[in-house]
């Protein structure tokens, strides 16, 4: 399992240096896509499941209460935690792709501070 993962990242790294530099627009677009899709989940579990559609969710029972109630007091919080760690992972990947494609002699766009 973990070996496979390493292999996959290795491959993506080696292909990174072949690709042209990632523009700041492309990086930003990918970042926004990532944030918006995760925020959709954030909205769905809290405002969706636990508030707007709580009656429908409550038709499913969990431990003597409706699932909507459980999402409001427990489930949404667990999902929030998971979301941040997924985000951390996705962003670290995106950043290293950006670095990989912009470091090796490629044109460096906006290197950053100072």
């Amino acid at each position: 399992m973990s070996e496979q993962e390493i292999e996959i990242t290795d491959q993506s790294n080696s292909s990174n240096s072949d690709k042209p530099a990632m523009t700041k627009e492309e990086y930003w677009r990918k970042n926004i896509t990532c944030v918006l899709s995760l925020l959709a989940v954030w909205f769905f579990v809290s405002y969706g499941c636990a508030i707007l559609f709580v009656e429908q969710m409550n038709k499913i029972q969990i431990g003597g209460a409706g699932l909507g109630f459980w999402m409001a007091q427990q489930g949404s919080i667990y999902v929030f935690v998971a979301l941040i760690f997924v985000y951390v992972r996705l962003m670290n990947k995106l950043e290293s792709e950006y670095a990989g494609r912009n470091m090796n002699g490629n044109e460096i766009q906006n290197q950053g501070e100072e």
Binding site: K24, L38, S46, V54, I62, F80, V81, V88, M91, N102
Partner: protein, 588 residues
């Protein structure tokens, strides 16, 4: 040993610990004073952020509020955790990339305006001062209740402790004490919860006990619903707070308010790099979630225990209600503090606790000879405070809860005081009034303004102004309607300019304050409220506390329109925005 001795011992030990940390972690530079040297690990910062965030209100009051509002109370659970998702996705990494010391500093530079910086400093000070008064009051009350000192004495001791580690150590001292305080408070919150869950459901994990069965085989939540609806209360698991729209707006206000609170944001300046800021937001939420998923379990279990203490048998039978003379010891203890109050309205020597504002049930109740709800006062805080006694836990557990409450209040107070003093010494003094000031002098100014902030907080703690009562409404409303939108526009809208940002901030705060004041009174002086707290006058049924989200929307709209009518920000500002959006190549 009795409870009081234990309390002196445990509280004394934790205070000695905080002082020890203060001596060990003195700040020697402004970087250490403002951002703890910028070298804190993501897990440590996560733990410190959790303590910074969880105040006396989270620790003492939240479980009680949920216990008495059931499903409706979920807005606090989702609002005060979901905000961290916004913080991690939209705020913390970018402000860390910007890499300076304060939130107003970012606003001032991004909107190339000292006025914007000044408005931000004002918002920050109003938000933080109202918030810190609540913490100081919490410390005073805890001391007077458990250690039987005068309220003022307790307040002074609390001020002294904060003074020691916040003035000496700045952010560095605060960070390490907050880590210690997190450990104290989470231990104090979960230990009684584990025992109560075990006793009631046989499961030591409160989160599982919450969906587990009680001794007669019925699920806990079902049992609770039955017990309280039999007494005319609304069902625990689906009683809405106001309306669906109100719950939606309330949750949103708390979430964006959380993501806009300066004392939380500056914690993310203490980590080494941008990826650490993201990771540490994740750890912060893990540590917060431990308390926030335990609290609803405590709430449900405490409500059931509490109701069954009074309604010992069938509703309507005379012996179904406990005799006042036979009330348990903890009941007597808390009556002395005034947090619980019984009034024998029908003179039968027994306690009737039911919902007398439910007309239908009140009619049935009067056929039993009940003449109104006799539990005339049940303070929300009782649910956490009395928990260990209700579960018959030993004295040291009660003492631990006291130390936990103090840790929660002190850690939040220190974080707020730092946000205030850094915005005074760094933004007002260095940024606006005396740009030439040397680092050594700025550090001294930081310490002096910290002392000033502690003194102001103390004075307001002793003579609480009327507006202190509206802390939550005020702090979250302002952070949500002013600071959060301006940060988001600064990061995500490159063309947002100075005119738009300032107009937006003023419109956002204006609308929110106007709404809060018209229903709660100007500066929360109730007699000046010309529309009253009346629900029928609420805008779409949204309560004043939930109005920050509407203020934020107004802020965005005004800022957008004004910025379209005025000129784009200068090129170097647009480059600054590009820069905070992109990763540093050598860090990735």
């Amino acid at each position: 040993m009795d409870v009081k001795t234990w309390t002196y011992l445990i509280v004394g030990f934790t205070f000695a610990l905080y002082i020890g940390i203060a001596i060990w972690s003195r700040a020697k530079s402004t970087k250490e004073f403002y951002v703890a040297g910028g070298n804190i690990s993501p897990i440590s910062n996560g733990m410190a952020t959790a303590a910074d965030w969880m105040s006396a209100a989270s620790f003492l009051s939240m479980a009680g509020i949920i216990a008495f509002s059931g499903y409706g109370g979920s807005v606090f659970l989702m609002g005060w955790t979901g905000g961290y998702v916004l913080l991690a996705f939209l705020v913390a990494p970018y402000l860390r990339k910007y890499g300076k010391f304060t939130v107003p500093e970012f606003i001032g530079e991004r909107f190339y305006s000292k006025t914007a910086r000044l408005v931000a400093v004002l918002c920050l000070i109003i938000v933080s001062v109202t918030y810190v008064i609540g913490q100081m009051k919490g410390v005073g009350v805890a001391f007077s209740r458990f250690l039987e000192t005068e309220y003022e004495t307790g307040l002074f001791i609390g001020m002294g402790i904060v003074f020691f580690y916040a003035v000496l150590g700045g952010m560095k001292g605060i960070t390490y004490t907050q880590i210690a305080q997190y450990v104290v408070l989470i231990f104090a919150f979960t230990v009684p919860a584990i025992f109560i869950s075990l006793e009631l459901t046989g499961n030591p994990i409160p989160q599982l006990g919450f969906i587990g069965d009680v001794s007669d085989g019925a699920p806990l939540l079902q049992k609770l619903d039955t017990v309280i609806t039999d007494l005319g209360f609304g069902q625990y698991t689906n009683s809405v707070m106001g309306s669906k729209l109100n719950m939606f707006a309330f949750t949103l206000s708390l979430m964006i308010g959380t993501a806009g609170l300066p004392h939380v944001i500056i914690r993310f300046f203490t980590v080494k790099k941008v990826s650490d800021a993201r990771l540490s937001a994740g750890w912060a939420l893990v540590f917060i979630a431990i308390l926030y998923t335990t609290a609803p379990a405590v709430a449900a279990m405490a409500r059931l225990n509490f109701t069954k203490t009074i309604q010992v048998g069938d509703v309507g039978k005379v012996e179904g209600n406990i005799e006042y003379a036979n009330r348990p010891e903890w009941f007597k203890n808390w009556e002395k503090t005034g947090l619980l109050k019984h009034e024998d309205k029908n003179g039968d020597g027994r306690i009737q606790y039911y919902n007398d504002s439910n007309k239908e049930f009140a009619d049935i109740a009067s056929s039993y000879g009940w003449k109104g709800n006799e539990m005339v006062k049940i303070d929300n805080d009782i649910m956490v405070l009395a928990n260990p006694e209700i579960a018959n836990l030993p004295g040291w557990v009660i003492a631990l809860v006291v130390a936990g409450g103090l840790a929660a209040a002190l850690s939040t107070a220190a974080g707020l005081l730092l946000a205030i003093s850094s915005s005074v010494s760094h933004d007002l003094l260095k940024g606006i009034l005396m740009p030439e000031i040397s680092e050594k002098k700025e550090l001294r100014a930081g310490r002096i303004s910290m002392i000033g902030a502690i003194a102001v907080a103390g004075i307001f703690g002793i003579y609480p102004p009327d507006f202190a009562a509206g802390t939550v409404a005020m702090a979250f409303g302002l952070a949500a309607s002013s600071i959060f939108p301006v940060l988001i526009m600064g990061i995500f809208m490159k063309k947002m300019n100075r005119e738009g940002a300032i107009a937006g901030m003023i419109a956002g705060i204006g609308v929110t304050l106007f709404y809060v004041f018209q229903h709660k009174g100007i500066m929360f002086i109730a007699s000046t409220s010309y529309m009253g707290g009346m629900e029928e006058n609420w805008f779409f049924g949204i309560e004043p506390k939930a109005f920050g989200a509407v203020g934020a929307i107004v802020n965005f709209i005004v800022a957008f329109i004004v910025s379209k009518m005025t000129s784009d920000p200068p090129k170097e500002v647009q480059e600054l925005v590009d820069d905070i959006r992109l990763p540093k190549l050598d860090e990735a």
